[in-house]
């Protein structure tokens, strides 16, 4: 029961004058790890809360496992949610925290009362709960922490307790709202792997909200990139990286961020930057456009290629990050435009700061965006170097 599809149809939500969600359609497949990613304020958390039932949409429908749940209470949707702040019950021990969703579900109201609750003959149910709690705790390796209070745990341990509390009830899907944001960098990387392993092991539907594109790229089966209340692009991490559908997606995905050059498309479809033809063509309208080039798709044009007409830049800074070297350069034609070039640290030639070089690029991996920010078709002439 732990992997259900979630279907969202035309979800709209308004808070006061701001329309936070402007008609979201999204089908989440059973057992899939789907990330909702975007800048803060893009509506991703609101969308997750609408799935959870913590907010109700102004318009549209939510269905879980085929059944519509738009007006169903959160507790009856059988979803588990993991929060950024962990949201553990502070006065309960770890054991009680993990047991709570089961107790609320399986024990009748009378047996949940403090003190007198134990008088009702429910020991069988209680034993089953104890077993389930210990199984969940074992899966997350927190068996030895069961009798502690949340305040006695580290951030990483609290996160594990929150996860145990989520998996203990075998929900229809897991909803996670930036669960790793409060952890330090090293622990975050580690928990990322664990979450992926957990997803694989449970085979459950995960909906994961994050503002961190690296998390989204490394963990997800599919990513829905949101911006200003809309889904900009839905696809696999590879598709978002290699085929960004809009300029927003291109800007958001990738680190360092994509290099953008202002270009012109003339009436023949020829693309030029600062009056210099780049050897690229596009179909459609002429006018200004933006060329997107990933840092690893740029390279220094060596003398041997006799590329006197590459993009001339001045090198401002060169940083070595272990295996990679990042060079920050400034266009000679327009000093306000900066580009970053990624090389392997051992690549030749190492260029001195303030030196002038010509950059080439892999044209088949260039991206062209029109004035409306949408992706435009791009073809390279035989010569791929500018």
């Amino acid at each position: 029961m732990s992997s259900q599809a979630i279907d969202l149809r035309n979800i709209r939500k308004r808070f006061g004058p701001d329309e936070v969600l402007k008609g979201i359609d999204l089908s989440i497949r059973p057992g899939e790890f789907l990330s909702l990613v975007g800048m803060s304020g893009c509506g991703k958390s609101t969308l997750l809360r609408i799935i959870a039932g913590l907010e109700s949409p102004d318009q549209g429908a939510v269905a879980i496992g085929g059944g519509e749940v738009t007006t169903v209470d959160p507790s009856d949707r059988n979803l588990a949610m993991v929060f950024q702040s962990y949201a553990l019950y502070p006065h309960m021990s770890v054991r009680e925290n993990i047991a709570t969703p089961l107790r609320m579900r399986r024990l009748p109201m009378s047996a949940r009362l403090p003190v007198v609750g134990g008088l009702f003959g429910t020991s069988k149910i209680r034993n089953a709960i104890t077993e389930d709690v210990e199984r969940a705790a074992g899966m997350l390796q927190i068996g030895h922490l069961l009798d502690r209070k949340p305040s006695q745990l580290s951030g990483g341990q609290r996160q594990r307790v929150a996860l145990a509390r989520a998996i203990v009830r075998s929900p229809a899907a897991f909803l996670m709202d930036e669960p790793l944001s409060n952890l330090d960098a090293k622990l975050r990387a580690h928990m990322r792997e664990e979450l992926v392993a957990l997803h694989r092991r449970l085979g459950a539907t995960f909906v994961y909200v994050t503002h961190d594109q690296i998390e989204a790229l490394t963990m997800s089966d599919r990513i829905a990139l949101m911006s200003e209340g809309r889904i900009e692009q839905l696809g696999t991490p590879d598709e978002l990286y290699r085929q960004p559908a809009t300029l927003t997606v291109a800007r958001f995905i990738g680190s360092p961020s994509i290099n953008l050059l202002p270009v012109d498309v003339d009436s023949a479809g020829e693309i030029s930057a600062y009056g210099q033809a780049l050897g690229l063509r596009s179909t459609g309208d002429s006018g200004p456009a933006t060329l997107g080039l990933r840092s690893e798709d740029l390279f220094i044009a060596t003398e041997g290629l006799s590329l006197h007409q590459g993009i001339a830049v001045k090198v401002l800074r060169s940083e070595t990050h272990g295996a990679d070297r990042y060079m920050t350069c400034q266009l000679l034609a327009d000093p306000t435009v900066r580009v970053t070039v990624r090389q392997t640290a051992t690549a030749k030639p190492g260029v001195a700061t303030d030196g002038t070089v010509h950059l080439g690029f892999h044209a088949e991996r260039a991206h062209l965006f029109g004035a409306n920010d949408l992706r435009r078709p791009l073809t390279a002439r035989e010569r791929v170097l500018a």
């Binding site: 913590l54 507790s75 929060f83 949201a87 006065h91 949940r112």
Partner: protein
């Protein structure tokens, strides 16, 4: 210089404490002095003739002190229980639920804080008289069963309870009432302690309202009982009077000392003073 800077605040606070505590000291001192010494200017703590036994036994024998205390307990606990039962859900709704009119209701609560009981005394009295409820415990409790001060205090404290825990609880299947009583109030025990002290002290010491609605000695809470006592039985026996006053002050002192830690936490947490 630094020593002076360190000591000055303490000196000022100590002076304040002396001003506050002195009347209590005087009360206790008078309660153990003989009538001849009551008007002495000296505040030396050891009286020339130690009359504590005489004064306290007189206070305990001549008036039904136990009866007064019991009345006080019934009235104070009745008020406190009803105040908490009504104020906690109201404060939770105002602090954590979104519904139309919430801001207006909150402003009304704050506005109601400014209305003194004296302003309402006449209509309340007439109402209770018409309903033939004068000289009952209910008459003494009725005006205080709903406390806007409690709503305000709990609202301030509940507001800081993390929303995510409440949301987690909703997903886990807690009802709103369970969230309110088992989680949110649980996280605000210091405020509950602070309010308990405020409420108990206010109503244990209240003379004004019981004097209006109760004339039966059997129903009198301690301060009203003491008033009857002072008028009728003792005349000018200040030693016995102060012994009685000491006896009725003591329970409040014990109550405060028991929850002192929570009380202080509750006040500093909610910004009420």
């Amino acid at each position: 210089m630094t020593a002076l800077r360190k000591l000055t605040p303490h000196a000022v606070l100590a002076l304040g404490a002396i001003v506050m505590l002195f009347p209590f000291y005087w009360m206790v001192l008078t309660s153990i002095r003989s009538p001849a010494e009551v008007f002495d200017i000296s505040f030396w703590p050891i009286p020339k003739s130690f009359d504590a036994v005489k004064n306290y036994s007189q206070a305990a024998e001549q008036v039904p002190m136990a009866r007064f205390m019991l009345n006080g307990v019934i009235v104070c606990l009745g008020i406190l229980v009803m105040q908490v039962l009504t104020a906690v859900p109201a404060a939770y709704a105002l602090a954590k639920l979104r519904f139309p009119g919430r801001r207006l209701l909150l402003s009304l609560v704050i506005a109601a804080l400014c209305v003194p009981i004296q302003a309402l005394a006449l209509p309340l009295f007439v109402g209770l008289a018409k309903a033939d409820l004068l000289n009952t415990y209910f008459a003494m409790m009725a005006p205080f069963l709903l406390s806007v001060f409690a709503i305000f205090l709990f609202h301030q404290s509940f507001r800081s309870y993390p929303n995510e825990i409440i949301e987690a609880a909703r997903l886990d299947g807690f009802s709103e009432l369970e969230i309110c009583w088992r989680l949110v109030l649980r996280g605000s025990l210091p405020s509950l302690a602070a309010f308990t002290v405020f409420s108990l002290v206010a109503h244990w010491n209240d003379l004004y309202w019981p004097m209006i609605v109760v004339s039966d000695t059997n129903l009198a809470p301690p301060p009203l009982g003491m008033l009857f006592f002072a008028d009728v039985e003792t005349g000018a026996n200040y030693g016995a009077l102060m012994a009685g006053a000491t006896l009725i002050t003591a329970p409040m002192l014990v109550c405060f000392l028991l929850v002192r830690r929570h009380f202080i936490a509750g006040i500093t947490m909610t910004g009420v003073k």
